[in-house]
Every structure is written in C-alpha cells, then in structure tokens.
Amino acid sequence: MADLDMLDNDEPLLVANSLSKSYGRIAACRDVSFSLYSGEVLAIVGESGSGKSTLLQLLSGQLAPSGGHVSYRMRDGVSRDLATLGEAERRFLFRTDWGFVHQDPAQGLRMAVSAGANVGERLMAVGWNHYGRIRDTASDWLTRVEIDVARIDDAPRTYSGGMRQRLQIARNLVTEPRLVFMDEPTGGLDVSVQARLLDLLRSLVAELHLAVVIVTHDLAVARLLSHRVMVMKGGRVIETGLTDQVLDDPREPYTQLLVSSILPP
C-alpha cells in the first residue's frame, strides 16, 4: 500500500486551474490555481470575506465555478474534472474518498442519532450490512479519536464541543478517504481542547497519509498542521509557499500584517 502511494505521488491528487467564482458583481474568488499531492496538507489563510470558504466549496464540488475547473485523481488513477462528474458520482466521492469537517459539528453530524450510527453511516451507505462489524469499526474509530467507547450509544448532542468535533472527524475518516476538506475545524473551541484536537489531527494525517485542504484564520493552526500555506485577500491568492517560509518571512504587506497581528506569547 505504501509503495502504491509512493508511485501515486508523481501525480497531483487535486488540481485547481484558474478557479473563479462571482456572485453577481462580487468576485468571491479570482483565478486560483494550485496542485495538491497525496499526503500533503495545504492551509488556506486569510481574514473573513477573503474567499476562503468559497474556494473550499469550489474545490469540493459543492459550488459550480464561474470560471476554471477542478480535477481530482480518482481511486482508479484517472484524473477527472469535477464538473463532468454526475451527481451520483460526486455524492459517492463525497462519502467515500473525501471527507468534509465543518466548523459547526451540528452541520456534519446527525445530532439525534447515536455516535456509533454517526460513524457507521458512511459504511452503511457503501453497503455494509453486518451490525457487529459496523459497531466494531465504529468503536475502533471512537478509540482512535479519544472518545470513551462507553459513550458509543449516546447522541452527539450530549457531547461537549471538542468531542463533537472529534466525532465528526471519526465519521469522515471511517471510509479511509484520501482527501479531507476542513473548514475552521478548531473554531469555537477553547485553547486546551484546540491543542488536543490539533495533536490528534496531526497524528491521523501522518498515519493515514491524508491530503488535507484546511481553511483557517488561525495562523497557529496553519503552522502546526500544514506543509504549505496559501494567503488569500479579496478573493485572490496573494502569497503561497512552505508554511514556515510564509509565516516566518512573509513577503506581501498583507501577510506581514497578518503575521504581526498575532499576540506574542
């Protein structure tokens, strides 16, 4: 498996080619291009309204771009333009090979059904039909995201914010996706919980060799998790590069402002 991944690394997993999106006269996203390779973590940083979330939706095929295209290398090794995928294929991709971690866990979880069923849903959606095996896999994933297995039958609405977020991650990773989109996964959590979550994410990403596109306004998150950083402003990518390079030696005035606005510890 590891060998296969090595071979695969030659080809990018996800390619964005001059992506644009405008809402009427407002250009939310302008001419964004990049390639993402498997096992690579890309952080998209920028202030509110800079087009980060729009870009994430374009990349994950939830929004149709006004210009440009996104292609994804499917499990069979063939790269396909997301716009040419049928809805059934796109949705299948979304619940097997992709993950999407929302900022608000209530959007990504079914709050009224048990944690076990939340994790098991994707498995059942791809045809698992054995209760015992689904439950074992769900328990296994709860352990991996540090949730007490005794709480497998509790609904996520009885969980704390940090647990909900970890459950959401387990639910996404259970089908062993190759690409995960994350929209501010640590937003709204207190710092100690954030630190634990980031730690968990970092180990899972390394262990599963995940490619991740993570949108965040928190530069600390970008520094901890990502290999590369894209800085966005007004819908454009104004600076891109290796994480430490961009954050330690920012070139653009806006990036310098962003970096310097972090309070020194």
Partner: protein
C-alpha cells in the same frame, strides 16, 4: 330538497383520470412515490383520504368492496367508508376477504391469502420512509433518485443499539423490486412477508401528502435488515382467545381495570370464519363453544 346527484364513486371523471394516470405510473415504477393532485374529500385528513381517492378511481359497478380498519370490518372508519361507496357508487360491499375485488385497508393486510382478481388499497399517513431521518423533501427525493439508502440502515442500527434488536414494529421499511425503499404504511411488520410476491395489486394512497405508490402483482418485496440481525415478523405468542388461531396477528384488548387482557385476531373476518368453522379459543362465547362441542361429540 333533491338528494345530491353524485357522479359514480363521488369523484368527477377528470379527477379519476388524473388519479388513474398516477396509479399507472406508480405501477410502472414499483415503490416510487408519484405525486398527484389530491382532492379534498368529505372526511378529515388522517381518515383515509388518499385510500378513498384511489378506491374511487379504480372502482367499477361490478366491484365488491371490503373496507377494514386495523383488520376490523366494523369500526367507525371502515363502516363509514363502506357506506360512502355503497351510497355514491352503489357497489356491493362485503366483509368476506375472498369475495371482495377491492379491499381498502388501514394498518393491516388480511390473513386470508389474496388472489389475482383483487386490489388492495392502503391508506397511508406518511409515504416517505426517510422522513424522520432527513427532514428535507428535496434531499429525500434525491436520495431515492440515486438509491442512497444507507440512512435507512442508520435507523435500524439505532434500534439495535438502543433495544438490542430491531424494535421497529410497524411501518417497517421494505425494498421493492430491488430498487426503491418504501414505507408499507403503518402495517405491523408481521404483514411484511405477505407483500412479497403477492398475486394481488397493491396500491398506496396518501391524501394529505399527495402521493400514490404501488406494488404490482408478483413483485419482490424485501424487508431491510442486517446480516446478523435478520428481519423477523413479530407476533404476540398466544393463540386467539376467540378462535384459537396460532398464526394470526393479534389485538390486545384490556378487559377490566385490574390488568386483565385478552388477545384476539385483529382480522375480524378471519376470526369469525374460523369460529363458524368450529374453532374456538379460551374465551369463546357460549354458542360457538357448544357448537364446537356438538361437532366434536357428533
């Protein structure tokens, strides 16, 4: 004052044509919910407005109508609907399952085996099996279109996680013709196996929700389950207190305020037929008991 002149079977012919078109489409796509322009009927929603419209659309002057409510021919709902069609269509009515050509039902499938010359019309309150799991109609339609039914198993999973077995006892989801997941209306899951490969045409009408769906004769109907928790029809383990039947679906009747109860067949026609044939149970009324004794003595 003159008596109101109803069209045959109450609905006007154009409305019946519209409903028949929906029925034909439903038969062509087994298990698929066909929207139709449901009319107001002279009865409240929840009393079978969908079933009544389907019955009105398929009824002919030669038909013999049977109406049951929870298996019973003599409850308010069943009697009212039977009288309604006796008055507006002048068709013959019956309580005997074998004699009927159209059977409108609420919550049961008759115990007697149905045959090819019969149509079973179900009254359906909530046609969408995914409703309580996915509140958006746009989303459930898309899920049906793409046959994404993982969510249905989430419900069954929850049952097992909470109760140790699949506790859904009625409206148990089925897959029709290996394609559409369908809500069999709130029939007990005891009745689910009867839908499979049934010689009679089964039509489902939901008046408030404006949907018609169908199972054509001899169609495969499979109840959803897990490999390690297979589907099991549920029946209270007792013989009928009136006719002694061991394999019919039972109603529980509370007989006093001290916790006494009796279990009797919910299908009254079946139970009466058995009693008339000399079967009796632990609480049979005297005449039947005597007759039974007479027959056994003589």
């Amino acid at each position: 004052m003159n008596a109101p002149a109803y069209n045959f079977a109450y609905l006007d012919e154009q409305t019946k044509r519209m409903i028949r078109r929906a029925i034909l489409k439903a038969i062509a796509i087994p298990g698929y919910q066909v929207p139709f322009a449901s009319r107001e009927m002279p009865m409240p929603y929840g009393w079978g407005t969908g079933g009544v419209q389907v019955t009105a659309a398929i009824l002919g002057p030669e038909d013999v109508l049977k109406v049951i409510d929870q298996g019973s021919d003599d409850t308010t709902n069943a009697i009212s609907i039977r009288k309604f069609f006796a008055k507006t269509a002048g068709v013959a009515t019956t309580a005997a399952t074998e004699e009927a050509t159209v059977i409108q039902t609420r919550h049961r499938i008759p115990e007697a085996a149905l045959h090819e010359k019969q149509v079973l019309v179900y009254q359906v309150p909530i046609p969408e099996p995914l409703r309580f799991l996915e509140p958006r109609e746009t989303e459930t339609r898309r899920m049906h279109a793409l046959a994404e039914y993982g969510l249905m198993h989430v419900k069954l999973y929850e049952d097992i996680a909470r109760f140790g077995h699949i506790a859904t006892a009625y409206a148990y989801p089925v897959k029709v013709n290996a394609r559409y997941v369908m809500d069999p209306s709130p029939t007990p899951k005891f009745d689910n196996p009867k839908m499979d490969n049934c010689p009679a045409l089964q039509l489902f009408g939901a008046g408030r929700e404006k949907r018609i769906y169908a199972i054509p004769p001899y169609t495969k109907v499979v109840s959803l389950d897990f490999e390690d928790h297979p589907f099991e029809p549920y029946r209270f383990n007792a013989p009928c207190a009136l006719c002694g039947a061991e394999n019919s679906y039972l109603d529980e009747i509370v007989t006093d305020d001290k916790g006494s109860r009796m279990f009797v067949c919910s299908d009254t026609d079946y139970c009466e037929g058995r009693q008339a044939a000399g079967h009796h149970g632990s609480l049979s009324a005297a005449p039947y008991k005597e007759r039974a004794q007479e027959t056994s003595n003589g």
